[in-house]
């Protein structure tokens, strides 16, 4: 895309760590990801830009297929070989997309570590928890297995796993879902990463366990001062843990801002729709106000704004012109024609959505 993207100025950001940091820890610019196979070429990410500061939690919020997980996995290049990447990604000064394959271990584990959604399948079923936490220490730090085991025990205690010593020799199937996810977190923390990536880490858990794991994650993140990218489709989770929220739709970041701004005063019609469709107390008997329609097929995006077919504020102009990212306040970005200074939107006729 030829449209220049305005860059959020970190110094002007209202985030808590803004004063301490001079340069963003993670910087993503014009990221594009395509999945190319013999019979298909699907653009999954279409020009995503954002920053994450040291010690800050950025939540990527969106529906399934909006590209939030792919965006996060790109940060450690954990994508299938069919993926073609464009744009730039830097973490702590390292050019992630330009890193040779053999150097990826500089990035993975020690600089950035990842927590996966489903700890049952994300842990190897035939290795013990202790082995799985310890092996990164042995491989990357050259520790002995005895030292690695001692460190693994410390980590299990850090994530508050009861009778941790016994759990070291357990296999994943011998742990409950909540304990497995704690073990997964311990594994991610084993190399003291500076950036934590969490891919819906509470989605697969029981509701009561979800909040415990979420509180633990927030506590650890504050204590260890890690920059964090947190992917979720759950607004409640985002509100609980995020400093800033980026809302994704059809492979684009449609709105970015501090958590309170996004929650209290959403600017993009899609974000507005998400806020309206949440369930909370006092709604018994009322009809849910859902967003009509379904997310578009990424292989066949409509011209103009990808959200236009489902948008309440859609006008004729939206079907023709793809909105650029507009800075509408300090650190606040919206990708919608309604907020641009384009007079064509005001002039064009409103459309009814079906």
């Amino acid at each position: 895309m030829a449209v220049p993207h305005p860059r959020p100025d970190p110094a002007a950001d209202a985030g808590p760590a803004a004063a301490a940091a001079t340069a963003p820890f993670v910087s993503v610019r014009d990221l594009t990801v395509r999945f190319v196979s013999r019979d298909a070429d699907v653009k999954v990410i279409n020009g995503v830009s954002f920053d994450v500061l040291k010690g800050e939690v950025l939540c990527l919020l969106g529906e399934s297929g909006s590209g939030k997980s792919v965006t996060m996995r790109t940060l450690i290049r954990l994508l299938p070989p069919t993926a073609r990447l464009g744009g730039t990604v830097t973490i702590d000064g390292i050019d992630v997309l330009g890193l040779p394959r053999n150097d990826l271990k500089r990035l993975r584990g020690s600089l950035a570590a990842m927590i996966f959604q489903e700890p049952m399948t994300a842990l190897d079923p035939v290795f013990t928890i202790g082995q799985q936490i310890g092996e990164a220490l042995v491989e990357q730090k050259g520790m002995s297995w005895a030292d690695a085991r001692a460190r693994a025990l410390q980590l299990l205690e850090l994530v508050q796993i009861p009778s941790a010593r016994r759990r070291l020799d357990n296999y994943p199937h011998e742990l409950s879902g909540g304990l497995r996810q704690r073990a997964m977190i311990a594994l991610a923390l084993s190399l003291s990463p500076k950036l934590l990536l969490a891919d819906e880490p509470t989605t697969a858990l029981d509701a009561t366990v979800q909040i415990q794991v979420l509180l633990l994650l927030r506590e650890l993140q504050k204590e260890l001062g890690m920059a964090t990218v947190f992917v979720t489709h759950d607004l409640g989770v985002a509100a609980e843990i995020a400093d800033r929220i980026g809302v994704m739709y059809a492979g684009r970041l449609v709105e970015l801002g501090a958590v309170a701004e996004i929650m209290d005063a959403p600017r993009h019609p899609y974000t507005e729709g998400l806020m309206r469709s949440t369930v909370h107390a006092g709604m018994r008997g009322k009809v849910l106000d859902a967003i009509p329609g379904a997310p578009p097929d990424l292989a066949d995006l409509p011209p103009g704004c990808a959200f236009a077919p489902r948008c309440r504020s859609v006008r004729e102009h939206c079907l023709a012109v793809e909105p650029a990212a507009e800075t509408v306040g300090p650190g606040r970005i919206v990708r919608c024609l309604r907020h641009g200074d384009d007079p064509a939107y005001a002039a064009s006729a409103p459309l009814a959505i079906g």
Binding site: K105, R108, A113, F116, A122, P125, E135, E139, Q140, Y171
Partner: protein
């Protein structure tokens, strides 16, 4: 762990008993009268009656079975109708010869199949994968007696490099693991190894490809550990499946191949069965099939027990 092994052994017992029942009923299921093979052509009804009593065929079937089972348990499988020698002294050396052949085929075929399958599983969709898959399919589809004959024509007849018949000088009694004997093993072992190698290559490919798609491989890569260590994880996960397939193939090889052993005149169980079938030597047939079936049950038992060492999830099941 121990209780699992004991339980597994307990499961094997009824299977073995079932096998003995089938072997016993073979005589009665086979077309024709078991007596007709023993009786001279001009035997009268009196003689027929006498022989019937002598062989115990006048008693009710369950009683016959129990008597037979008692004898079998003490190693007495009866006498061969053709050679008049005890069945055991015919079957055991043959089983031993087949075991040499089976082991040689395993040493040739299994490492080859596992290696090919693993490489294909790592390059799914690529040209190496397609090449391996077509070689494997060809290996499984080629009739092995035909392959045996082709190998004989090339290496024994045209090149004169390897022998085509028998086990080597002196036969079974003076068998030794020297080149004079081992060179007789080469062609039949290669012939027998082709099908198991193909089957193993295909299932290793499928297993490795499946495991490499699992989520935990992503976790391993996200940890930043080396490809070698990831391969170790993949191998340990693939182990139980490969072991099960390989065990089944090994048991099948131990059963001997009537066609291949006949092509190479290898004095194993397949050769013995072939002769027994053509001479209607039912005690030999019965004894051979029983010994082979018990091998089969035993190998499966060993595979199941070995799997508990590879897969921690089995112990609880």
């Amino acid at each position: 762990m121990l209780s699992y092994i004991l339980r597994r052994i307990a499961y094997a017992l009824p299977i073995t008993l079932g096998v003995t029942i089938i072997c016993f009923s073979l005589i009665h299921l086979a077309p024709g009268d078991p007596l007709s093979a023993v009786l001279p052509d001009n035997a009268g009804p009196d003689m027929r009656e006498q022989i019937k009593i002598a062989y115990g065929f006048d008693k009710p079937l369950p009683v016959q079975y129990l008597l037979w089972l008692k004898n079998v348990a003490t190693g007495d499988f009866g006498l061969s109708i053709q050679s008049r020698r005890p069945v055991v002294s015919e079957v055991l050396p043959a089983a031993c010869n087949t075991a040499y052949l089976a082991l040689a085929a395993v040493l040739i075929g299994f490492p080859f199949g596992i290696l090919m399958g693993a490489v294909a599983g790592y390059t799914v969709g690529g040209w190496i994968d397609r090449a391996v898959t077509s070689v494997a399919v060809t290996g499984v589809s080629v009739p092995h007696y035909w392959l045996g004959m082709v190998l004989v024509v090339i290496f024994a007849v045209n090149l004169g490099a390897l022998p085509a018949m028998g086990m080597g000088p002196g036969g079974q009694s003076s068998y030794a693991f020297d080149w004079a004997h081992l060179r007789h093993l080469v062609l039949p072992a290669i012939t027998l190894a082709v099908i198991p190698a193909g089957i193993i290559a295909r299932s290793v490919r499928a297993t490795v490809a499946d495991i490499r798609r699992r989520d935990f491989v992503g976790t391993l890569q996200a940890k930043g550990i080396g490809e070698g260590r990831v391969l170790y994880h993949v191998a340990k996960n693939a182990g139980p499946t490969i072991l099960a397939v390989a065990g089944l193939q090994f048991a099948q090889l131990l059963g001997g191949s009537i066609l291949v052993e006949t092509v190479f005149s290898w004095p194993g169980t397949g050769f013995l069965l072939n002769t027994a079938i053509f001479t209607r030597d039912l005690p030999i047939l019965q004894g051979t099939i029983l010994v082979l079936s018990i091998f089969f049950v035993f190998i499966n038992l060993v595979v199941d027990v070995l799997q508990t060492f590879l897969d921690p999830r089995i112990k609880r099941a």
